[in-house]
């Protein structure tokens, strides 16, 4: 169910997004939402597993930072409120179809090549398959253009791991905010 603008912004200004944990609404960051097993609004569990596993291969740490819940929260708001990088890339909104298409393609590719979903691949197999996808020319890829999918998911992972004040701290780079980015969650 999409969040309305007022509800979204209310949570956003307090530094969190409205998730539901055990049927109880709670304002949580994506990292907290992941840790507490918050319900997903838009992505299916299978889609979340595939996207999380892929994001973790692209940039280790993305899973723990709550990539699936971040994507789910941003896909659950009006596209005009979305914070996703794909907004810049002239892909028609809404973008749910793009992400579900990538998740489906990941699992289908892994299933064909390794007889299991992407999230169940060994670390080496997942890394190798990510390299194939990054190359863009994948004969048995059935989803949004593979190279583009790599670019977008990788950018989402970088946003989450390095695009927020904690990420700057990890790089020993001063954040120097005029206004702290609470809304990013």
């Amino acid at each position: 169910m999409p969040l309305d603008r007022r509800t979204f912004l209310k949570g956003a200004t307090s530094g969190a997004v409205l998730f539901t944990v055990g049927g109880v609404p709670a304002w949580l960051t994506p990292r907290e939402a992941r840790a507490e097993g918050a319900d997903l609004r838009t992505l299916t569990p299978a889609q979340a597993r595939a996207l999380t596993a892929y994001g973790e291969v692209l940039l280790p740490g993305a899973d723990e930072a709550g990539l699936a819940h971040y994507l789910d929260a941003q896909l659950s708001v009006d596209p005009a409120e979305s914070l996703l990088m794909i907004r810049y890339l002239d892909v028609p909104a809404p973008w749910n179809g793009f992400y579900s298409g990538v998740a489906h393609a990941l699992d289908a590719l892994a299933q064909r090549r390794h007889d299991c979903p992407f999230a169940e691949l060994s670390a080496d197999a997942a890394h190798d398959l990510a390299g194939v996808i990054a190359g863009g020319e994948v004969a048995d890829w059935a989803g949004p253009p593979a190279g583009f999918a790599h670019f977008v998911l990788r950018a989402d992972a970088v946003d989450l791991v390095y695009g927020r004040p904690e990420g700057f701290d990890a790089l020993n780079v001063p954040y120097m905010a005029h206004i702290d980015p609470e809304a990013v969650a």
Binding site: L59, R87, L89, P92, A134, R154, D159, R164, A177, D180
Partner: protein, 520 residues
């Protein structure tokens, strides 16, 4: 349909041009209604984050971008009060004298309906009002103009590193002129060099419409209606009679007026005119010339990157550039016709479309972590911006289908000319050579990008091949005025905002002077 109270002027778009017109017309005593498709941003909305910055980009109905070199509308366009200028970088360069006389001097493109000397006083007045930081004497390429009112902005490690490369190759650099305060000016604070310009500058050190024109327009009595999506401009007996729009609740409204100012962007101005076709205007309102939508232009962008041993502090500075090089601004060269310029040492963050990670899209996993860690302290970058000559086949058209209001979507068709691509390739090779000459351990280039949107409703002296005159007034519809970068007959290679303001100042002052005749 809800009928609104009559106003003197209805302005479509509260971006740089629309807010500028709104303030001037309201201050001259005219009643003004501004229809803005997006939200009513405040300074407090401008959170320092490249993730947050995305909400400042276009969030309205889809704009399709097609052609061999599609224009990047999603990144370049704006949304809400201030428009694209809320997230612009404040790189304010004047166009060169040659840019105004492309047809006369080179037999290429179009001539503007006035020359540089005519526009110079407007550039000078704008820079005094806004406050530019720079060093006019150091800019050996700069056309005649008053000195900048403020000294240049500070430079940091990556600028100094790249400067070495230009000097080693016998090329020139100078501080980039920026609409950013190097010291307190016009009641606004000085820049603190945090590199968050892309997310909008809440202190107003970087000039944007939220600093002066939006509050000035409101203070003078203008009304800005946010989330107002324009459907069409209505007309009767050769004159514009009003604007139909959908309000924030989706209700269809009609705003009658004496004068319409379209300032919706170089994409949406032509789209609105084309969607305003009627029995009297079968090819689109004010389109007897057939030029509405044609000659759309953008700048080519080549990103050049390097890694150095020294600490380059790439996160410090401003998003625009620290230094400028316009040794390549001459039009005619063996490697393609057209100008290019270097924007040297924009501040970089790890993420975002212009961030460090994107420059090495081939890396992932632990290798990406390692790269970002190194790049955060040792990277340097610069961008070559190249000229796109007006091509009638590069255009804004209407796409297939209609929405619930009967409106067809905007579609942009774009391909860089062979000359523009040759200039782009030349600049790319030059940039790699500069980076190596600067001592970079590694140097690489990014893919072709696009920046800025211009043309599509070109100014001209001849109504047969242009849409508006040198003041932005329609040749066909006497009470219809257009504003913004869409008026540019040629693009040059310099960032367009400064020129847009100079052209708008010239246009709005003439409109105020001629009001009775235009609005009659």
């Amino acid at each position: 349909m809800k009928r609104m109270k009559m106003v003197d002027a209805v302005i479509v778009g509260a971006g740089a041009a629309g807010a500028f017109y709104a303030r001037h017309l309201a201050e001259s005593g005219r009643s003004v209604a501004v229809l803005e498709a997006g939200p009513g941003w405040q300074h407090t909305d401008l959170q320092s984050s490249l993730i947050w910055a995305r909400r400042l980009r276009w969030g309205g109905e889809r704009v399709a971008t097609t052609g061999e070199h599609p224009f990047g509308y999603g990144f370049n366009a704006g949304w809400g009060n201030g428009g694209a200028a809320t997230h612009h970088y404040g790189t304010w360069l004047r166009l060169d004298e040659s840019d105004f006389e492309m047809r006369s001097r080179f037999g290429r493109g179009r001539d503007w309906p006035f020359d540089y000397a005519t526009l110079r006083p407007y550039y000078d007045r704008i820079q005094k009002a806004v406050g530019l930081s720079g060093d006019a004497e150091a800019e050996i390429w700069r056309p005649a103009g008053d000195p900048y009112p403020m000294p240049p902005l500070a430079t940091f490690g990556q600028a100094e590193a790249i400067r070495r490369g230009f000097e080693a190759m016998g090329m020139h650099t100078a501080p980039m002129p920026m609409a950013i305060n190097s010291q307190p000016y016009a009641g606004r604070a000085a820049c603190i060099y945090d590199g968050w310009c892309d997310a909008g500058c809440p202190t107003g050190a970087l000039y944007n419409p939220l600093v002066r024109d939006v509050p000035g327009a409101l203070a003078a009595g203008a009304e800005i209606r946010n989330h107002a999506s324009v459907i069409r401009v209505t007309s009767r007996n050769g004159r514009a009679t009003g604007v139909e729009y959908a309000d924030a609740d989706g209700e269809r409204c009609f705003q009658p007026e004496s004068v319409v100012v379209l300032a919706a962007s170089a994409v949406h101005n032509p789209a609105i005119l084309l969607n305003s076709a009627s029995d009297d205007w079968p090819d689109g309102l004010a389109n007897r010339s057939g030029q509405v939508g044609r000659g759309f232009m953008t700048h080519s962008v080549a990103g050049i990157y390097g890694l150095f041993k020294e600490d380059t502090e790439p996160f410090m500075g401003v998003s625009g550039a620290q230094l400028s090089c316009r040794d390549g601004y001459g039009k005619d060269r063996e490697q393609g016709f057209g100008s290019y310029q270097w924007l040297i040492a924009p501040a970089m963050k790890p993420n975002g479309l212009l961030g460090m990670a994107v420059t090495r899209a081939d890396l992932y996993g632990d290798a990406l972590h390692a790269f970002i860690r190194r790049a955060s302290h040792h990277m340097a970058n610069m961008l070559a911006m190249g000229e796109d000559l007006p091509d009638p086949d590069n255009r804004v058209v209407l796409g297939e289908g209609r929405d619930g209001y009967g409106r067809r979507p905007a579609k942009v068709v774009h391909r860089f000319t062979d000359d523009a691509m040759a200039v782009h390739r030349h600049a790319r090779e030059e940039g790699l050579a500069v980076m190596r000459a600067a001592g970079a351990d590694e140097a690489w280039a990014g893919p072709l990008g696009t920046a800025h949107m211009m043309g599509g409703t070109p100014m001209g002296s001849d109504p047969a091949d242009s849409v508006v005159d040198g003041y932005g007034r329609s040749h066909d519809v006497p009470n219809l005025v257009l504003a913004g970068t869409g008026l540019f007959p040629t693009a040059g290679a310099n960032n367009p905002t400064y020129t847009m303001y100079a052209v708008a100042l010239r246009g709005v002052e003439r409109l105020i002077d001629d009001w009775d005749a235009v609005a009659a």
